[in-house]
Amino acid sequence: MVESPFLLIAATSAAAGLTAGFVMHRSDFCVTAMFRDLFLVGDFFLLRMLVLLVVVSMVAFELGRAGGMLTPYPFPLLGPGSLATLIGGLVFGIGMVLAGGCVVGTLYKLGAGSMISAVAFLGLLAGSALYAEWHPWWSAFARATALGPALTLPQWLDVAPALLILPLAAVGAAYLYRCRRRGLLTRPAYAAGHIPPWQAALILAAVGFVSWLFIGMPLGITTSYAKLGASVEALFWPGHVAGLAYFQALGLNYTPPFATEPVSGGAGPQLDAIAAIQYPLIVGIILGAAVSALQVREWRLHWRIPPRHYASALLGGLLLGAGARMVPGCNIWHLWGGLPILAVQSLLFLLGILPGAWIGGKLLTRYVVR
């Protein structure tokens, strides 16, 4: 793993992670809150920031595609949409609210010293690895309920991506312009070193673009949760891990940009292309957030909290991990990467997490935050 493609991939990934972790901590760019607060308190503010990120990414990705800069297109690991994606999204939505953060939110909060997120992280590893136990029949269910071979909406409708993506982006831009005129894209913030969420949305869209440009795909981390979980599991039950089909499969096979040879990777414990792409991103996000929290002198462990909060984080983490594998893919992958190119899986994932976040909010207010 010392060839240059892996070096470029790992370096880009680490830089993307450090930037994202720092920025997300400073601006409280919590994707879970975007959906949860919509249902819990009728607050649309953060969701507008997601619209901004998606609209900017739509234009950037489309220009990048048209200019031949973003290859492969669509990016690898996207599959056809199915009922499995919708159900996985629902499970993911419930999990992210109960865990108090999504797969990336958990990392940046963990980096800033949150014990709740540390517990959610353990749940995520366990949930991701446990998915391997029912992967064979779940993937059969996904195949049986697949909508068709098309990966994106333009492919499905057989139109040029620009014809669908750019008009939709224009509608989104008009909505955002109206929000800006009414002062709905900013609100007073008092946290030290705060970065306005609209700036964070622009920075994160740029990070996603750079990731696709140099790595060949936007940000994503959840296969590595399964990989890390498998690595831990293999310490205790190596025979069992070796016998699971999910950990044997190499779902990623592609030639990265700036590389001449194809690379491959999967969810098994081995160090492969998935590890090169995602491990530096995970470590980068945790470190970026830790640097941010230390810089504003807010890094502190709080562990004396009601036990039901820990239980919620653990259960939420398990659901998040399992849900992300059932989709497959996480909110960052689908909302920041897939949605801007109108990937069918990403659209179904979005449809799933909306009711999931609503159910999660109901469970959270009834059993956890009292």
């Binding site: 901590h25 409280d28 919590c30 879970t32 809150a33 949860r36 607060d37 819990l40 308190v41 607050d43 503010f45 108090g100 953060g101 949150s114 014990m115 709740i116 609100r187 007073p188 913030a189 008092y190 946290a191 030290a192 705060h194 002198r297 807010e298 890094w299 502190r300 462990l301 709080h302 562990w303 004396r304 909290i305 009601p306 909060h309 919620s312 984080a313 959270l364 207010t365 956890v368 935050v369």
Partner: protein
């Protein structure tokens, strides 16, 4: 100077969005007293997001909020609008 009754709650480290929800719960329970200026709610938290969401929410409800930095977190005071 008139004595103001302070209700203090520490919501450090809890799962998000405990800080916002528990503050609103407390505020709803003591709405009349807070509105009259007799009582204020003082929240200690490490939740950065709450420093934006609590002032935003209570302002919409007709109250005032004041955020100050303490140790490794924040103190958010919710009181009547002057």
């Amino acid at each position: 100077m008139e004595q103001v009754n302070s209700i203090t709650i520490d919501i450090s480290g809890q799962i998000c969005p405990s800080c916002l929800l528990l503050t609103l719960k407390e505020l709803n329970q003591h709405a009349a007293a807070v509105r009259s200026g007799d009582t204020e709610i003082v929240v200690t938290t490490d939740d950065r997001q709450a420093t934006a969401t609590i002032p935003d929410a209570v302002n919409k409800m007709g109250y005032a909020a004041e955020v100050t930095r303490v140790d490794a977190g924040y103190r958010i005071r919710v009181c009547a609008k002057r």
